[in-house]
Amino acid sequence: MLLIDCPNCGPREESEFRPAGEAHIARPEDPQALDDEQWARYLYYRTNPKGLQFERWHHFYGCRQWFNVARDTVSHEIKAVYPMGAAKPKDLA
């Protein structure tokens, strides 16, 4: 069970949260300009790293805010919690 440090609520149990996949996937500025292959890459293709992953979490049963987490996908250790829209933490990126 993960203990996740919500930026608003402090440390809470994982069961209050919902993971929402890889972070920092920007929606293309002009989707009409993309071909089907490029659009598929935006929609479906993921890094799926073994090791450090930057991902989104949603405090679904708490403050209902979204935020980013840097987490190791092997040890599950959470290395950083940072706001939506912020860049990846410099010491990790």
Binding site: L2, E14, R18, Y44, Y45, R46, N48, E55, T73, V74
Partner: protein, 416 residues
């Protein structure tokens, strides 16, 4: 390959069973092969076996970083079924189920395939409507299944709790009688022995570290036991598909998650069918050893850790006890997790990769075990002919750009 039979059993009994030959060799890898299969789980070993048997290609090496069947093949809950909604998926899984029905004879190895039936329990009207829809679709495709009334269910599964005073009362069911379970280790070992018997090299403790790709064509696989050249490479590594693809400079529409299961202490026979209660997020069966084998939905976060969060177990056990109060004092013996490779439409991904000579078989998510014989056979045909077999043709990478997804999430057991 020494054939197993009642006579070989009797003959070996005379020497106290101390002289059985090894089931397969452990050769050093040769410098070059026609085909390298990465991953010595059920799918990879089955691919190797059918390459030799159906296509006469036995210059094949299966490389495995750990031991045979030590990944998801040995970590699943052994359910075999073909109750899928969409035609493409139904034909694929039914092809596999038909191979299961003669697999022990085919391999001369008892995989303990037991068609004890797969019973889906249903609660809400929405459940019943959607399963009725699927039952109709399956029957149109010639796959056995039928709805069960409450009275029929009580005969099939007498130990369930049919009280109305529970949160989710049981109101109906459906059954696929040809569904059931098999012994997972035996599937890996049976295919390994049969593939080895046809001259295929199986190399364990040999991890892929990179690829030699020139002009977008595969030339060799770099491993911890040296460089091995091959004309074709098949990737059959389930949860680690993304890691292997990255070594070839590719990304996949696949994410890896933990899927957990657990078993109880052995009990006297009490449950003679496989139960799926999707509305509760739990499914279970009783193994031939007597253990209750219980599974739940996967964890939500990406992981390669081969373990998940206890909350999944806690919740699914609570739901199971509402269904089967009779198990309330049963002790759990052990829990474990495997890493499942989930695609966006929860259907598998089989076919060529953008690097010429490379093929992949992945994306089976939470339900790859049942597909072992079928995926192996169809992957072998795809490799041998350099073109997707018609049954797997809809399951290629291109579906994500054409938009022709095969959204089988409704049929993928308990929730993804």
């Amino acid at each position: 390959m020494a054939r197993y039979s009642i006579f070989s059993l009797a003959r070996n009994a005379l020497s106290h069973h101390e002289n059985w030959p090894r089931a397969w060799r452990s050769p050093e890898p040769r410098p070059t092969y026609d085909v390298i299969i990465i991953g010595g789980g059920g799918h990879g070993l089955a691919t190797a076996y059918y390459l030799a048997k159906n296509h006469g290609i036995s210059d094949v090496c299966v490389i495995e970083k750990g031991w045979l069947g030590g990944g998801n093949t040995g970590r699943n809950t052994t359910v075999v079924r073909s109750n899928y909604l969409w035609d493409d998926a139904a034909f694929l899984y039914e092809h596999s189920l038909k191979l299961w029905e003669s697999l022990s004879q085919e391999l001369n190895y008892n995989v303990m395939f037991s068609q004890r039936g797969l019973v889906s329990l249903l609660s809400t009207q929405h459940d019943i409507d959607s399963i009725q829809h699927r039952v109709h679709a399956m029957r149109m495709n010639g796959i056995d299944t039928e709805m069960l009334t409450l009275a029929q269910l009580k005969r099939w599964v007498p130990i369930a709790n049919y009280s109305r005073k529970v949160r989710h009362p049981i109101n109906a069911g459906a059954v696929q009688r040809r569904g059931g379970s098999a012994r997972h280790d035996a599937v890996a070992w049976g295919y390994a022995r049969a593939a080895d018997g046809r001259g295929i090299d199986i190399v364990q403790q040999c991890e892929v570290t990179g690829f030699d790709i020139k002009n977008n064509r595969i030339r060799a696989v770099e491993t911890t036991r040296g460089r091995i050249e091959a004309k074709k490479v098949a990737v059959s590594v389930a949860g680690h598909s993304g890691v292997i693809a990255a070594m070839a400079g590719l990304r996949l529409p696949i994410e890896s998650y933990p899927l957990q299961a657990w078993v109880s202490e052995p009990l006297k026979p009490v449950l003679d069918t496989v139960i799926n209660a999707a509305f509760l997020g739990v499914y279970l069966s009783q193994s031939d050893k007597g253990e209750l084998v219980i599974g739940a939905a996967r964890d939500g976060y990406n992981s390669y850790g081969q373990r998940g969060s206890f909350r999944i177990i806690e919740q699914a056990v609570a739901e199971m006890l509402e269904l089967f109060p009779i198990f309330s004092r049963v002790k759990l013996l052990r829990t474990w997790g495997g890493i499942v490779d989930v695609s966006p439409d929860t259907s598998p991904l089989i076919g060529p990769l953008p690097v010429r000579g490379m093929y992949i078989n992945c994306g089976w998510g939470t339900g790859g075990f049942k597909a072992t014989p079928g995926a192996g056979e169809l992957m072998a045909a795809t490799l041998a002919n350099d073109a997707p077999h018609p049954l797997v043709q809809p399951f290629g990478l291109e579906r994500f750009s054409t938009g022709r997804l095969i959204d089988e999430s409704a049929a993928a057991g308990v929730g993804h």
